[in-house]
């Protein structure tokens, strides 16, 4: 298994254009929550985690022009992860922050892409892209269509039960859920090429 899906270079490359506000919006919608959660998981308090996330994104924003897709140099997300790690350490070393975590713990955060930490971050990233994509496409569907998808594909109810609940035929539930799924996939694929979800640490 050679590495997790990489962020599509195209989104990152679009960031080189500072006037491409759509790209910047997508970028912050996806990465801000991601880094925020990373910081929360390391014990940062809510407001500190917000600061960390903001600062990481600003750093990335400031330096993104120098980032080029190059497998030798590692992934964009790896780069982001390293920046996030260093900034969190920095935050703690500036003192008086979040008594729940300490810098030593963060220093142990492995930058090596095969480490469990990095893997977890990759999975968190994929999850974030799914959440983001689901948010974006939801307004395009009628509520029953969305529910047909959500109840069967996410909650795991059987199609028959959901059809009954929503007062739809089984065939209609299939059509509804696959339409949503297709759109979700297209949206996710704008950001990442392939997905994988096994090995989520228990």
């Amino acid at each position: 298994m050679d590495g997790a899906p990489e962020t599509r270079a195209s989104l990152i490359l679009r960031l080189h254009d500072r006037d491409d506000l759509d790209a910047w919006q997508e970028f912050s919608e996806i990465y801000h929550p991601l880094v925020f959660r990373l910081a929360r998981s390391k014990g940062f308090q809510h407001s500190d985690a917000l600061d960390v996330a903001q600062e990481v994104l600003l750093r990335v924003a400031g330096a993104v022009e120098r980032w080029e897709p190059d497998p030798e140099k590692g992934t964009f997300r790896g780069w982001l992860y390293r920046i996030a790690r260093n900034l969190m350490i920095d935050f703690l070393e500036r003192g008086r922050r979040s008594p729940l975590c300490d810098a030593d713990h963060l220093i142990e955060m492995q930058v090596d892409p095969s480490s469990l930490e990095s893997r977890t971050f990759d999975l968190a990233f994929q999850r974030q892209v799914f959440l983001w994509a689901a948010d974006r496409i939801r307004p395009a569907f009628q509520e029953p269509t969305w529910q047909a998808f959500w109840q069967t594909a996410v909650v795991g109810e059987s199609v028959a039960v959901v059809a009954e609940e929503l007062d739809m035929s089984v065939g209609a539930v299939y059509i509804a859920r696959t339409r949503v799924m297709q759109k979700l996939r297209t949206e996710v694929q704008r950001v990442i090429q392939d997905v994988e979800c096994r090995e989520v640490p228990a």
């Binding site: 960031l15 500072r18 506000l21 910047w24 919006q25 970028f27 912050s28 919608e29 801000h32 929550p33 959660r37 929360r40 998981s41 809510h46 917000l50 996330a53 903001q54 600062e55 600003l58 750093r59 924003a61 400031g62 330096a63 993104v64 120098r66 260093n86 900034l87 920095d90 070393e93 500036r94 977890t120 999975l123 968190a124 994929q126 999850r127 799914f130 959440l131 594909a153 996410v154 909650v155 795991g156 035929s169 089984v170 065939g171 209609a172 299939y174 059509i175 859920r177 696959t178 339409r179 799924m181 297709q182 979700l184 996939r185 392939d194 997905v195 994988e196 979800c197 989520v200 640490p201």
Partner: protein, 534 residues
């Protein structure tokens, strides 16, 4: 009811068409009972790994394993106040009519060819001096400021003061136009980009060039400071490059003040970028020449790392950091920066002006000595090390760290000698049975007075020998298994401490070496001695 399976085309259409179509009733009916077509439709939308991922990632349980709910929505935009494009402005409106049709207009006796750039308070034009037959740069006070009489007067006054500074590294002022629609300063046209443009394009600058540019800026500042003129807005955009990095010139002396005063009469907005301001400027305190030294430190930081020392989305956010935060360590961002150069920058960027270099010329001298050393490492000795608060902080950490190691080790040894099982390194006992009272055995700072370099060297040599001996010691059955590890950590701490010695006679360094020595003495006594006969 259809018994034929749906063909691929039909399924495609079902998926892509959001609207109903004539045969949809049939398709729905067929899909309601044909599991084969149900599966094909599912697969057509996305293969099985997508369905799995969707369930995995969108379901709530995942929240717990992959760390929690989302933050409130925040939009990060790359645009900082500085880079917001100024509103379009037809500049020719503010120029006198041109004397040649191909020109944009005229300012005083100068023909204007075109606009070069804009800043927070000015517009820079490329002009031509037909009397002397040379190109010039014409800096106009921005129209929104020129409407204030105070700002106009101030602009002219500061320009006159700046014109009085004659120095290789301060831009010459050819003249000041007061009669034109907008007041203007006429200067030589400098070819190169600004230092800001250079770093944006080429990234970090190497140590020799940083030192060289630092010397030039310090020399220019020193000339201005000698005339009682504080720049107030030292930043990369105000350092113009000529001929690559070989010669720099400082522009915009004192102009920030003109803009500041004008703004105070309207709003209290800060014009231009706040990133290079000093903490005392950020606080609105009174400032002196040492404020320029802080800003120069930030400029050097920017060259060394390619990053701004203080960032934030809002001007207030940046200023708060300027005032309070310690920037990310330079060598962490760029390990190629030597320690001494890092210390120079750290010292310039000390929050308290009293902790910085005293004058620009002291800095210039230091950097010149340092540059000589960089160029001829064997022939020229490096200048003395600088003591900065960053070094003090790190040193405190090393000393505490090495004491903790010794104390932990002593406790383990004590435990093993009294017969209790030695605990593993991980759960190092916190009981303190034989901890030597290290503090009590040390002289206080006052008692110490001035220490000779000789006694420091002796102490250091002794500690080093002892640590080395401990490292070399063959393991004895009674020695705890983590002993070698602990000793080598101690050795590392010691050499890190050694790196930070700032002078031959550095008394705080002396105290710290002694504290390690004292601990070592105690340690040696507790180590089991090889029995005679071996």
């Amino acid at each position: 009811m259809s018994t034929n399976h749906c063909d691929q085309q039909l399924l495609d259409r079902v998926l892509s068409d959001q609207s109903e179509h004539p045969d949809s009733a049939d398709v729905i009916a067929h899909l309601s009972h044909c599991t084969a077509c149900q599966e094909r439709l599912d697969l057509l939308a996305a293969d099985s790994s997508w369905w799995e991922c969707t369930r995995e990632y969108l379901s709530e349980e995942t929240e717990a394993t992959l760390a929690g709910p989302s933050p409130p929505h925040t939009l990060i935009l790359p645009v900082l106040a500085e880079s917001t494009p100024p509103p379009p402005l037809a500049i020719d409106e503010y120029l006198d009519p041109p004397s040649h049709p191909e020109m944009l207009g005229r300012v005083g006796k100068y023909d204007v060819e075109r606009e070069i750039g804009r800043g927070g308070m000015s517009i820079v034009l490329r002009g031509f001096d037909s009397e002397l037959n040379r190109p010039v740069a014409i800096k106009l006070l921005a129209p929104h400021l020129a409407s204030s009489g105070i700002a106009r007067q101030r602009f002219i006054r500061e320009a006159r003061a700046a014109a009085a500074v004659v120095h290789d590294h301060v831009i010459t002022i050819h003249g000041i136009e007061t009669e034109s629609k907008l007041p203007a300063i006429v200067m030589p046209l400098i070819a190169g980009p600004s230092l800001h443009g250079h770093v944006e394009r080429h990234g970090t600058v190497d140590p020799i060039d940083i030192a060289r540019i630092g010397i030039q800026i310090a020399a220019g500042l020193s000339a201005a400071h000698a005339q009682g003129l504080v720049h107030r807005d030292i930043k990369p955009a105000n350092i113009l490059l000529e001929n690559g990095l070989s010669r720099v010139q400082i522009t915009d002396f004192g102009l920030a003040r003109a803009a500041h005063d004008a703004n105070l009469t309207q709003t209290s907005v800060i014009t231009g970028t706040p990133h290079f301001m000093s903490p005392e400027q950020a606080e609105g305190d009174t400032i002196d020449h040492r404020s320029d030294l802080f800003s120069l430190g930030s400029v050097l930081y920017f060259m060394a790392t390619g990053q701004l020392p203080f960032t934030g989305t809002t001007t207030m956010g940046v200023l708060r950091k300027v005032y309070k935060a310690t920037p990310t360590r330079i060598r962490e961002l760029n390990p190629l920066i030597p320690q001494r150069l890092e210390s120079v920058i750290d010292k310039l960027m000390e929050k308290s002006p009293d902790d910085r270099f005293e004058t620009a010329s002291e800095l210039r001298q230091y950097l010149s000595d340092y540059l000589a050393h960089l160029q001829q490492p064997t022939a020229r000795k490096p200048p003395r090390r600088l003591l900065t608060s960053a070094i003090r902080d790190r040193r405190r950490k090393w000393v505490l760290g090495s004491l903790a190691i010794v104390i932990g080790l002593l406790a383990v040894l004590f435990a093993s000698r009294t017969g209790t099982q030695p605990k593993s390194a991980v759960e190092r006992p916190t009981a303190r049975p034989v901890i030597p009272d290290i503090d009590a055995s040390l002289p206080t700072f006052a008692e110490l007075g001035v220490v000779s370099s000789q006694s420091i060297d002796q102490e250091l040599a002794q500690v080093t020998t002892e640590v080395n001996a401990l490292e070399q010691r063959p393991p004895l059955p009674e020695t705890p298994s983590n002993f070698p590890q602990e000793v080598s950590q101690l050795a590392a701490a010691l050499s890190a401490l050694e790196e930070s010695r700032i002078a031959e006679t550095d008394s705080t360094f002396y105290i710290e070496v002694q504290s390690i020595n004292a601990a070592l003495q105690q340690l040696e006594q507790t180590i089991p001695q090889p029995s005679p006969g071996f």
